[in-house]
Subunit: 429 residues, 2 copies
Amino acid sequence: MGAHTSFEGPPQAGTAPTGGSEPERAFSLAAERLLLGRMLASVGNPPLRVLLWDGQEIGDSANPQAPRLVIADRAALLKLMADPEYRFGELYVTRRIDVQGDLCEFLEILFRALPRPRTMGMKERLLAPLRVRRNPPQRALENIHHHYDIGNPFYRLWLDPQLVYTCAYFADPQATLEQAQIGKMDYICRKLRLRPGETVVEAGCGWGALALHMARHHGVRVRAYNLSGEQLEHARAQAREQGLQDRVEFVQRDYRTIDGRFDAFVSVGMLEHVGLDDYAELGALIHRCLAPQGRGLIHSIGRDQAGSMNAWIERHIFPGACPPSLSQMMTLFEPNGLSVLDVENLRLHYARTLEHWLSRFDAASAQVQQLFDADFVRTWRLYLAGSLASFRAGDLQLYQVAFSRNGCNHIPWSRHDLYATNGSADATL
Amino acid sequence: MGAHTSFEGPPQAGTAPTGGSEPERAFSLAAERLLLGRMLASVGNPPLRVLLWDGQEIGDSANPQAPRLVIADRAALLKLMADPEYRFGELYVTRRIDVQGDLCEFLEILFRALPRPRTMGMKERLLAPLRVRRNPPQRALENIHHHYDIGNPFYRLWLDPQLVYTCAYFADPQATLEQAQIGKMDYICRKLRLRPGETVVEAGCGWGALALHMARHHGVRVRAYNLSGEQLEHARAQAREQGLQDRVEFVQRDYRTIDGRFDAFVSVGMLEHVGLDDYAELGALIHRCLAPQGRGLIHSIGRDQAGSMNAWIERHIFPGACPPSLSQMMTLFEPNGLSVLDVENLRLHYARTLEHWLSRFDAASAQVQQLFDADFVRTWRLYLAGSLASFRAGDLQLYQVAFSRNGCNHIPWSRHDLYATNGSADATL
């Protein structure tokens, strides 16, 4: 990862080489503090403090309990100022910047200070036409491989036992992660009004937990698509173990190859990986494969307002990903004869899910470091904490969208059955 | 309404003057039948029959029980062929065309045959830039006056006793209209999580039923805006009668004049009258007037896909109106720092509501004719039946959208409380 100043705790004054005469250093420091002040103003003057390598502190000191940013050397400060969105992650991983105190709290304060509603900066506007808006099959394969094929043992360290890597549903906020992931799968089945003997196609099935849950608890036959070989290996083993291999078929192909007709279409946590310009095609595919009285559900991270992914996350965590706004999601349904029945925003449930993941991840950090290295731990910790802060601050949303074909009257009369105390999934349509 | 051929039942052969020699008449008839066949093909060949003035029938005779269209004379046929969307209503009102059998059923068959997803025809594309997309205050006033100021006695004949002129909510499909309108008002209050002592602003309050309901049953103070003088007169009388004049203020001004800060914003059945290009301004207004922890709900007719209002309805019933698609609705929320929490599509509830209205309207048609005239009865019957058929066929939707300010975490944890069996409105946020 190249040379970097590593440190624990606040740096000592004068640890970084500053060079030049005393007056030159003083001038240079004053200039840096001015620039740092400008940078903080440009992100809405978050009520946070910044500790510099020479022991000096700038920023809001009204709340001394708030976490503070520590910058290890002058070059790190200059890099951060040049491109805070991207460089923050890079400098954090290599320990040239750090956060004293709770990282999530720090990031939430930072995100909440950003001016809303957001307007695109000059750089964002200039780069917008260059952003990837399509993920053709080969690129989709590489993107998925990058994130999901880094090893099942890693994900086993901090996900629930069924390896459900999407927002859980905490009917009771105090539920365990295991309970809430089962709760989410069952909630989706209720929203889909699954009935025994029906057929379901799932686009992007992860480690297969939902497909297996649907077959086991709702008596349906499932064909589930995924590009990740590591995930499907686990899913197929689970199907055999549970004796469901005749009712759940796992297919290692791109969602674009889905064919046939199904009573239900479901996709949980895949749309984020579909390019915005590929939505129309996905919508047409759904229309083709949905039976006349079929039901569908798409579960996806989204945004209150269209915007691009954080550049560091896009580069290091989720290449090609983009959480859509609702109007962007509608380009999937509206031109394709689909009718939106129900949209639920589960943002706070994703924050709760991430609290569980982060705490398990932290508890397993020594093992993660053994599997990879310290930089990897720091990268993933920042990604999980940043996601948590984004859901808390409202920068990210979680949408569940239920739909049918346009004009289909075989739809639920109301939502009462979803919340029936017996939790029955046998809703009358 | 000018000269027209009035008739009851199917016309006799030869009632219309055709002129010319026998071969000329035969040729002319053959040409008309060809054109009529083309017109039917252009609307998707609905399984319907058409009876011409000379007693001949064309179209689909597979289902002899289906209602059929009767055309009284050659000129009516030519007019209908030239512009079916607009002329159907005009010719129907003046009885130059009629429907034998159930009008709603006829229209639903017609609407369902139309190709989906819709693509704009040449005429629609050419006219699109000319369509009204803004309703400035003076035009808004005229539009509202046209529909809502035609007399409270008229609306009393067929609405429920509280004069609620928007989609009801039938928790039980067999509920009466009265019960379902109260059910709708209470459902909205639950979605808004109203608590005693809070303040609410309502944009477009009709005859005031919801504003009075909120104050009476949920202990809030309401300021309610409406342009219609006739409606507000009734609303104010009701407030005095119920002793609520200190807690509900009815304001006869355009929604654009709303100021102040409120715990909740609600608008039921007004957005249809707001021009699409005025949405951004309305969204900014909502953002301004919503308290930091405020909640909002917009209830509006909409569409699965953007499209223009039927030209005859736009001219004769609802000038300036346009039911938006969800992505069009999002132009209200997304640029304005608002976060969509919940979208519910109540399309089938509007169909049920319209069944009640139409049956009451039919029962009161003699009284309506006394208040106005026979053409008025026919105009409104076609509008009500056409709306019912549109909701049944999926051409129209009914969206309830609940929202908060972006990043507000004082939002409902789940929807369970909305469906609690005790129907309590005291939800915990």
